[in-house]
Amino acid sequence: MQQESSGRASVQLKGTNFGLRVIFSEDLDDDVLIEEFKAVPEQAYALPVGRGLVLDFRSRPCSGELAGRILSGVIWPRGLDVLAWITSDAESRARLAQAGFKIGEPGHAHAHENLADAGPLIVNNSLRSGQRKEYSGDVVLVGHLNNGAEIFAGGSVSVLGKLKGLVHAGRGGTEGIYVMAASFEPQQLRVGDKLCNQFDTSMRWWKKPVIITLEDDNLFFRNWKAEPKSEML
């Protein structure tokens, strides 16, 4: 669904796996933006909205007043749920966070909460090259993840051996997700929609026991022994 203004999309709606992503034009006046948003027909939210909306302002600042008008003018009257407010404007991010709004990529927390009921998948043998485990919840591997082996998990992944293969954790949402390894030696790591392949033997955490989390869109490494030191990659 797109609303056109002066030949350019001012409010774009895109279906995603969590619901709808509403992308606002970066150069519209606030009043026009609100009117355009209000003009989106009710039916647009009916089918793919899923768990809620992500409001994506791109580089456009979002003032407190604009946030309030969006909430009172569109969100609350239509009974919608906002999962996250996305803007690359640092001041706006700080303001929204201070006001208690969720910022950064969508909170898939709902998905992760649902996964908790399923219980973790425990794999009691090493995974060799070419072997793959895919599971909607957490995965615990009691063994090594060899080079060429893969774990794709909706939740967190714990490798109680050498992590040399590919882990993609947080496919169902990144909130509270971690990757844990007794010895960290991979070529690549994926958490949510983040991919990191800057690992080599000179890395401080190479072959060390680590816990990796995603915080403010960055991967954070901590010693498994829970030392206070941490390092952003």
């Binding site: 090493s126 060799r128 090259s129 070419g130 072997q131 090594h144 080079n147």
Partner: protein
């Protein structure tokens, strides 16, 4: 009882499957065992060349499966040693010329008459590998001390495990102790750490392997090169004998010394 049917495989090509098959087959035969080496690499026939039996092939095992000849007609007896046979494959056919069940049936036909059936497996993980592995009870996985070869060996071991083959044992080929010492090559511990299966043999890099392959005379026919010794040791270990490991450090040092002597004309 019947034969032990062993597939010799690797995943990666060029690591020494065919050379190992030929040499282990000869070494077992020289120990008095009745052995047949089966070339299952359909379309890329090489075992006959390495064994020096190329000129004596009339039929192949595809002919047996298709009913063009009897099994005994396709078998080529090696006249240099008692009780060693080759069952060649076809060079003009492709891997889909046989099914896993046909391969299994062929192995069952061979089993009563031999002590060992050694299946020289094609590289890769597709139909050719599956055909060869289907008929086997045990597996020997060959790797070289290189990361791609080890990774492919790991893949193959996983597949063999899922097919229920046991035991699966490892042979490391083209090993160079001095390079390991200089941290330029994976050590046997590095490899075993990844693959986590029992090591059956550690074959040193040896020029005589290339020469013997070109001559069609497997090393284990009588040479005393380190590789020949280790192939013989592998055969002994397959028979349950306890054989000490070669001292590869000493061998390579001797090799360097011999090279220096040669340069200075001592011999």
């Amino acid at each position: 009882m019947g034969a032990r049917v062993i597939v010799i495989t690797s995943g990666k090509g060029g690591v020494g499957k065919t050379t190992s098959t030929a040499n282990i087959a000869v070494a077992l035969a020289r120990k008095g065992k009745k052995v047949v080496a089966v070339d299952t690499d359909i379309g890329l026939r090489n075992l006959d060349v390495i064994m020096g039996l190329e000129s004596r092939i009339v039929y192949n095992f595809i002919d047996v499966i298709e009913g063009n000849c009897k099994l005994s007609q396709a078998l080529v007896r090696d006249k240099r040693v008692d009780s060693l046979y080759l069952l060649p494959t076809a060079q003009t056919r492709t891997k889909d010329a046989v099914s896993p069940n046909q391969m299994k049936e062929l192995c069952e036909q061979l089993r009563p008459d031999y002590d060992f059936v050694l299946l020289d497996c094609p590289a890769g993980i597709e139909g050719g590998f599956k055909n060869a592995a289907e008929g086997a009870d045990e597996a020997l996985v060959i790797t070289t001390p290189e990361i791609p070869a080890v990774r492919d060996a790991d893949r193959i071991i996983g597949m063999l495990e899922s097919m229920g083959k046991s035991p699966i044992r490892l042979i490391i080929n083209r090993f160079r102790a001095l390079m390991v010492k200089n941290n330029d090559m994976l050590s046997q511990d590095d490899i075993l750490d990844v693959l986590a299966i029992k090591l059956l043999g550690l074959i040193p890099e040896d020029d005589s392997v290339i020469k013997s392959g070109n001559r069609g005379e497997p090393l284990t026919f009588g040479q005393d090169s380190p590789a020949a010794q280790e192939f013989a040791n592998i055969a002994a270990r397959l028979l349950g004998e306890s054989v000490p490991w070669l001292n590869l450090d000493a061998y390579e040092s001797r090799g360097i010394l011999a090279g220096i002597k040669k340069i200075f004309g001592f011999y």
